[in-house]
Structures are given as structure tokens and as C-alpha cells.
Subunit: 250 residues, 2 copies
DNA sequence: TGAGCGCGCTGACGCAGATCAGCATGTTGC
DNA sequence: GCAACATGCTGATCTGCGTCAGCGCGCTCA
């Protein structure tokens, strides 16, 4: 079990690591990325970093803790689009669009580095490879949103939950925060409900079902995979999902 | 009613127009984009342009006709992620990832220009602003997928349908293929069902309901908005959605 | 001219998951 | 030491949408 936090060193930094998976970054590129990542700020649990409808928002790069992005609907309900873990961008679209189309909220206390629109666009013109790398990262995020869409559209509540927990596990493993036996998970059943398009009551029932079937348990902030293979099978989870072996652009 | 098709001229070309909404393209940039757009190919209705799981796929830029991107699930069902109309990319992610994570199929007979991975990455290094522009276009696509996610997660079947038809209308208006009274729509009720996470039977019932309530009709390949304002209200559709007034990066 | 088929359309019935209502625990603050 | 509250958990009931089964229309092709 290697659950180590992100470090500010430029060699081993979750964002650099993620981008390097796609483009081979020059030392200069790495320096620019690391620069964006250096100036950390702390945010308390529950703080809103990005506001739907607001103009001229910055983006952030998450250094530690969990966040979630969501959209509010008239009627007070919300749909959580995705959770973000260290190394992920927060609110990238709110920089590229004039006004933000979603909210981002800190789920735990978090550390994040602000990236202003100026910084980002300047970095793109100075180090063009970076734009390609960020395009890749954004496409990876989109691939996850698409997978969530399939989840909501075509899977039953328990398959949905199973798939979601497997996906989170896979993402956390990539940043060294979990392994195939499980991971620490600060999400409440209410958050799960908002993400999976279910009621909190039903989330509870589904978790019980998965537990009683010996597939996964989720208790006291920890997800434990009891029978990983059976769970993968049950959720029809693609093991290759999020795997990208080696840089495409070198 | 101005429903004109895309023309191959570089000044008035749906892709150039779309990208220009975000970055001010130099004449050289326009030339590169137009070059990607020149070599057209025809595809028959139902042809699969991109295959899930296949490696080294090209992308395409759609010049005329409609396409759809979808994911297949074990069990034979599918979830349509989005429909594409002229000016949209087909399978951009399948170029950025080594292996494609989705399918793209021609809904009507279509014209599309192939863009290979080499072409695209070369264009990015030669004309860096293009990478930023494409990042923006990809983010716009992601914003639509997010909206579809909200649709599936939190809206009832009839709100979902209403929102979907309004979104299609807005997109088509941007490329000059419809207006606020309606648009030509080649989608079958089966396609709608696969996109909206409903059964075809229920799609039919929902369309009847919307028709009887005097909101929209969808008959013989044509969507007619009967009461646009009421429909927008019913679907809680954001009128600013997909509006981006003027380039952000000049 | 009629078989075959894709697509739109409808009624009867069943079920997954929402809603409502309530209890149990642990944590925070006075 | 006990409110006040957030969160987990559970049973009873209701309902939106799926499933099944079937009809009608307009094609295309022999």
C-alpha cells in the first residue's frame, strides 16, 4: 500500500506525471508546468472555488484533497459531473469559456494552485507542446464524463455504483493513492447519490447489496474490494480504461 | 429560414467559423484549417467511421449530413453520447488516445474530411494557436456531454426530450441549418431512445405528450417549435448555452 | 401484387427506484 | 451532560418508465 501525497518537487508532481503520459515534456515544459503548480492555496471543506455563471474565472490544479464539479438545476437538485483527485484540473472549461458553466466545490480541505486565464494562454503560446498536452488531459476528462453518461443512461443502480467505485480506484492508483485492495474515500452517501443520479436512500440499499454479495464494502471512509474480478465482471468494467501506455507525442 | 449547406470555400466553412468564435485565426491558420477540410469523402448511411477498441484511428471533420458517437455495452445495448452536425469533429479523442473509446456512425449519408494523427499533431506544432482553438472546440463538446449527463441524471423523460430538441435547434442555428421555428431532423425514435436513455416506446409517448401540450411537434423528419418560450421554461433550458460572443484569444 | 421489413404508434402489466417516515449513531458546541 | 445536527440505515408505499404484445402504414424488391 503506497498512499503518498503529492509533493511540490517538479520531478514527481501529479500534473507533470499525468501530462508526461501523453507528450514527452522538455525540461523547459516541465519547468513551466511546475511553475503553475508551485503557488499553493488552502481551501476549507465545502468552499466553492468556481461558480456557475460567473465570468473571468481562474482554473486550479488540485494538489491534495478531493473536489467535485457539478451543475445546479432549477429546483435545487444538482448533478455531480465528476470528482477530482490530486493532479486534476479544476474548472478548465471556465477559463476557456467566458463564463463558467459549472461549479467546483472542495469535498475535503484541499490544496490547489490557481491558474489564471493569462497564465494559461501565455503558457500555450510560449510552450506550444503544453497546449497539446492540456488538450490530451481535457480529452481524458471528457472520456470519464462519457463513461458517467453511459453509467446513467444504461446501467442499473448497482452496476452503476460498482463501476463508479472501480473507476475511482483506478484513478487513485494512477496517482499512488490506492491499490487493488481498496482506497480511502471521503465521500458521503449523499455525494454518491448526486453523482450517480440516485436517491441517498437507494445508494444505501445498493451498498448493502454489494456488501452482502461479497463484492465491495464501503465503511468508515474506506472502500475495500472484496472480490475485484467478480466486481469488474458485474460492472462490465473495461480494465484498459484510463490506461495509456507511454507518450503518444515524443 | 436560411438552411444552406456548408461550402468548401475557406472563408465560409463551418469549422473555420466555429474556431474563429474562440481564437482570431491568422490567414495562415485559416489556410491550414481549410486544408484539413478540403479532401472530402462520402460515406453511406449507417457506415461506421470510427470503431471502439481500434488503434491508430483518424479523426474526421463533418462537412454535410449527421453522425452520432456512441458506446456499446456488453448486452448489445448502446448509449449515444452525442450527434454531430456539419462543422463538428468526429472521433477527436480516438486520435489523441492510442485506441478509440467509442464508435462513430453516419446517421445520414455524409461528407467528411479525414484528419490523420500525423496531420493533426503536425498542424499543432506548426500553428500553435490551432492547438488552443481545438482545445476550445473539444471543451465545447465536453460541455455538451456534461449537459447530456445532467439530462440523464436529473431530468424526467419529457424534460429530457424537450431539452434535447432545444439543444439541437440551437446548434443547428449556429451553422445556419435551422431557426427558432424548427429544423429538419433525420433522427428516428430509436436513435432518440438510445441518446436519451429511454425505450423507443417511451420516446413515442413523450413526443405525443409534448405535442398534445402544444410545445413541440416532431413529424415526418421535421421538428417544429410550437411554443418556444414555454418549451424553454419546461426544460429549464439555458438560453446562453453554447453562446460565446466573440473570440477570447485575439 | 403481395411478401417482407422498418418505423410509428398504442394498451396492459411489472418492476426498479423514488418518496415518505422514522430510528440509531457519532460529533460539535454550549 | 445534553441539545442540535449530520450521516447512516431501514421498512412501507407509490410511480415513471420498461417490457411485452400487437396493429397499421409506407417503403422496396421479387
Amino acid at each position: 500500500m503506497t498512499e503518498r501525497p503529492a509533493t511540490p518537487s517538479s520531478q514527481d508532481n501529479p500534473l507533470v506525471r499525468k501530462l508526461s503520459a501523453f507528450v514527452r515534456l522538455s525540461p523547459n515544459d516541465v519547468e513551466v508546468v511546475a511553475g503553475m503548480f508551485r503557488r499553493r492555496r488552502n481551501f476549507a471543506m465545502g468552499v466553492e472555488l468556481i461558480h456557475q455563471g460567473q465570468v473571468g474565472q481562474s482554473a486550479f490544479v488540485l494538489a491534495s484533497g478531493w473536489a467535485c464539479s457539478y451543475k445546479l438545476l432549477s429546483g435545487g437538485t444538482r448533478q455531480i459531473v465528476d470528482f477530482q483527485v490530486p493532479g486534476d484540473f479544476l474548472g478548465l472549461r471556465s477559463v476557456l469559456f467566458r463564463t463558467s458553466d459549472h461549479n467546483v466545490e472542495a469535498v475535503t480541505t484541499i490544496q490547489a494552485s490557481e491558474v489564471t486565464q493569462r497564465d494559461l494562454l501565455a503558457a500555450f503560446t510560449e510552450t506550444p507542446r503544453l497546449a497539446t498536452a492540456v488538450l490530451w488531459a481535457a480529452s481524458r476528462d471528457e472520456a470519464m464524463v462519457v463513461e458517467h453518461l453511459v453509467n446513467l443512461g444504461r446501467r442499473s443502480a448497482s452496476e452503476r455504483m460498482a463501476h463508479f467505485l472501480l473507476e475511482l480506484g483506478a484513478r487513485l492508483r494512477l496517482v499512488g493513492m490506492g491499490n487493488s485492495t481498496g482506497f480511502a474515500c471521503p465521500l458521503s452517501q449523499y455525494l454518491l447519490a448526486d453523482a450517480l443520479g440516485l436517491s441517498a436512500v437507494h445508494v444505501n440499499r445498493v451498498l448493502r447489496e454489494l456488501r452482502e454479495d461479497g463484492l465491495v464494502t464501503f465503511r468508515r471512509g474506506r472502500v475495500e474490494f472484496r472480490n475485484y474480478d467478480a466486481l469488474v465482471d458485474f460492472a462490465s468494467f473495461d480494465r484498459a480504461y484510463l490506461d495509456h501506455d507511454g507518450p503518444l507525442l515524443s
